[in-house]
């Protein structure tokens, strides 16, 4: 901060006519100054670890072996890009994110529309519907794996047996569906809340006018409600995707990435390489590739797909 401020002062003393400019600059710094601690904190907690990770990714470092940190250049990255499990993990990450957020948004929309009407006990129903979101993800994973889906003691299989069916070992027979079910259960309330806020901010007179004009309920939903909800939908999908893309708890608790590597996503794979395989260098390289990949996808997606950001930009320009 002082390094930038000092030249400004020097300019000011040398050229009195630039005093105005210097004053403006000081004012700008007075505005920015209070933000600096937060910025510095952000750099410390995000950028320094990242630079360290890049540094570690250039070494072969197996924690389980003595004297192993040695320079290997980019060969960890070569290993990442020739590793079939890595590509499978990328695919699973995309799969989990798209399907979970998609289903959660649709369910959330349905629930939000229902909750938007007045009925007896609405507050209780709303609280109950929100509660999955308030449960610790680890606990949610455990509930799904043991209480609901367990082949011998699970509630779902108990119901199946009542109706004379044969029990299904969901977690191993349908691992991806089990993980997605857990994630959807957790994130539907979140989508529902955002969309409910959108619905309640909608002017009622428009809908009334539509009804007077003879529009059916479906038509007014399609023509009026959905367009109004667009930016809420985008926000819900965006935030949901940001959280779901690094799902770890559900996978760790329900399937441990398996069977085999069928539900291993990127965060779980990195965890496995680092904390079960003790390959510090390799997992650092995986981390770097993941961060870079996520940044590229995120920035493209933000610019292309989402009107909230585009409108914001045009407003500024």
């Amino acid at each position: 901060m002082s390094a930038t401020a000092a030249p400004a002062q020097r300019v000011a003393t040398r050229r009195p006519r630039g005093a105005e400019e210097a004053k403006a600059r000081r004012e700008r710094w007075a505005r920015r100054g209070p933000l600096l601690p937060a910025l510095i904190f952000l750099i410390i907690v995000t950028q320094i670890p990242f630079v360290l990770t890049v540094f570690y990714s250039l070494f072969s470092w197996d924690l389980a072996k003595p004297g192993s940190p040695h320079w290997v250049g980019l060969s960890n990255y070569g290993a990442v890009f020739t590793d079939p499990v890595f590509f499978a993990a990328v695919l699973h990450t995309v799969e989990i994110t798209f399907i979970s957020v998609g289903i959660a948004t649709l369910l959330g929309l349905g629930l939000a529309v229902l909750l938007d009407r007045a009925f007896v006990g609405r507050a209780i129903v709303r609280t109950l519907l929100i509660s999955p979101f308030l449960i610790l993800p680890t606990a949610a994973g455990l509930i799904w794996k043991t209480t609901l889906l367990d082949p011998t003691y699970g509630i779902v299989n108990w119901i199946i047996r009542i109706f004379g069916g044969t029990p299904v070992a969901f977690v191993t027979a349908q691992p991806m569906a089990s993980v997605i079910a857990t994630v959807v259960w957790q994130w539907t309330p979140f989508e529902m809340l955002i969309l409910l806020a959108g619905l309640q901010s909608m002017p009622r007179d428009v809908l009334e006018a539509a009804r007077v004009d003879g529009a059916s309920a479906l038509a007014s939903f399609r023509e009026l409600t959905l367009p109004h909800l667009r930016s809420y939908l985008e926000l819900g999908i965006l935030l949901g995707a940001i959280y779901v893309v690094n799902t770890f708890d559900a996978i760790y608790m329900v399937t441990q990435g398996g069977p085999g590597t069928e539900t291993t996503n990127l965060p779980y794979y990195i965890y496995q390489r680092a904390f079960l395989g003790f390959e510090v260098g390799q997992s650092a390289a995986l981390g770097v590739v993941t961060v870079v990949g996520t940044l590229i996808v995120a920035s493209v997606a933000l610019r292309v797909m989402f009107s909230i950001f585009i409108e914001d930009n045009t407003a500024k320009a």
Partner: protein, 465 residues
């Protein structure tokens, strides 16, 4: 072989900064997976005017929780020592302890490790030679440790960790169900016999599986029983020239046998059943046989267990070898970095002494003794009475386990259900995932073993060079 070791030349200060950074940096990069390690928390074990605070990392198994409960008796005898436990589940504990010990981060004064880590870490100079301490401790009697256990925790004739409890594997079976079906368990069953029993006793309608076997991923989960099957079928992981053998006919036959057995006559959802799931299944009467750790018998015979008193225990089934049981022990060691080695040894020698074992019996019940560490445990009359069904089978199983010669042909590694090489944690985890995929049915045994062979190829290459 010219490996430039950057971190070692860096001097003390730089090294410690790099070290504590690694967990945090990885965490951040892995999209904030975990919190940073507890490195540095609590500071060092200081020997200030008020004595020593020991930092002890243990695994959260029932026997270890007993230590926590009884620690007041130790602290009463040693008023200048305070013991602080860091208790974690097995996988987390292993990651934390490996991290701390391998980076010399002085996080713990006592760590709970096993016969997998002990010989390797002793060779690397990461843990303290306990032999001099043992020699100076009157009445400790290391000759009382079960010989196979003692040997598995020694490096060049000196013990580097001392056993807290030990286990092998055996076959628990329901005597009542066998009698009802008119079957008779031989004194030394073979795997084909066991498979035939499983087929006869499997009763899907009543929800009773023929046999419960672990299928869940993890080198400490499904690979433990499976490796004993591979061994006794004559298979091995590597030949003497470190060429991987995972696609050899004998390994394939063994894995096919195991997968077929558990898929057809095993518990429902075998791909997600580990030790605890099988324990629950068997204890609730949902399985007629269970091949697993000898240490499980204590819970099966405990008061309140629905199957207490109904079980027989047969040695680990075999095919081509005489014995096939595994050998495992949770033991206590002192990292080289600990500044409080003497106090650490006082705690360790207390927790692994004959007196401690009797203390558990008096305070918590005689069936709760930490089994499988000392021969004298099997001469305590109260224990022999409480553990009548399984005490002798346990001791026999542990005594006959042979990590030096696990299978028919010679191998370049030691270990029955694991390979005592540093790469095994990683290799084992990956292979076990493939096995789970085969058990769950998503993959064929052949392709699972081909993928495993590929993983083993890299490890073998490193050992050949």
């Amino acid at each position: 072989m010219v490996r430039r070791s950057v971190f070692r030349s860096g001097g003390v200060v730089r090294r410690s900064v790099l070290r504590s950074g690694v967990a945090c940096a990885l965490g951040a990069a892995a999209l904030a997976l975990t919190g940073c390690s507890v490195a540095g928390a609590g500071g060092g074990a200081g020997s200030g005017p008020h004595g020593v605070a020991l930092r002890v990392a243990i695994v959260s198994n029932p026997q270890m929780q007993d230590v926590e409960m009884l620690i007041k008796y130790f602290e009463r005898e040693h008023p200048n020592i305070k013991v602080n436990f860091v208790t974690l589940p097995e996988n987390q504990s292993r990651a934390t302890v490996t991290d701390a010990v391998s980076t010399h981060s002085n996080e713990f004064d006592v760590v709970m490790i096993s016969n997998y880590e002990t010989p390797m870490w002793a060779r690397y100079g990461w843990i303290t030679n306990l032999q001099p301490y043992i020699a100076r401790t009157k009445g400790y009697d290391e000759n009382d440790f079960i010989p196979s256990i003692r040997k598995s925790l020694s490096y060049r004739g000196a013990m580097y960790s001392v056993p807290f409890y030990g286990e092998s594997s055996f076959l628990a079976y329901r005597k009542d169900l066998f009698a009802k079906a008119g079957l008779h368990m031989p004194a030394h069953p073979t795997w084909p016999q066991v498979a035939a029993f499983a087929k006869k006793l499997d009763d899907k309608k009543k929800g009773v599986a023929g046999i419960c076997l672990r299928g869940d991923s993890g080198w400490g989960e499904n690979l433990a029983p499976l490796d004993t099957v591979i061994n006794t079928f004559g298979g091995r992981w590597f030949n003497m020239r470190w060429q991987p053998q995972l696609t050899s006919p004998s390994v394939e036959r063994a894995v096919r046998f195991y997968v077929h057995l558990v898929r057809n006559y095993g518990e429902p959802g075998p791909g997600e059943a580990g030790f605890s799931e099988c324990a629950t299944n068997y204890e609730q009467g949902n399985a007629a046989m269970w091949y697993d750790a000898t240490s499980a018998a204590g819970t099966l015979e405990a008061k309140g267990s629905p199957v207490a008193g109904k079980n027989g225990y047969a040695p680990a089934p075999v095919l081509k070898t005489k014995h096939s049981g595994w050998l495992y022990t949770w033991s206590l060691a002192i990292p080289k970095t600990s500044p409080a080695k003497r106090a650490a040894w006082q705690f360790i020698s207390w927790a692994t002494s004959k007196a401690y074992i009797k203390l558990v019996g008096r305070k918590l019940g005689w069936s709760n003794l930490p089994p499988g560490s000392r021969l004298s445990t099997y001469r305590i009359p109260q224990y022999l009475k409480a553990a009548k069904a399984f005490a002798k089978p346990t001791l026999t199983a542990i005594e006959s386990a042979d990590p030096q010669h696990p299978t028919v042909k010679p191998v370049p590694y030691t270990g029955v259900q694991f390979l005592d090489i540093p790469e095994f944690q990683d290799l084992g985890t990956r292979v076990s995932q493939q096995i789970t995929a085969a058990i769950a049915g998503g993959e064929s045994v052949k392709s699972a073993l081909q993928a495993s062979q590929q993983y083993a190829q890299d490890v073998g290459k490193e050992h050949r060079s």
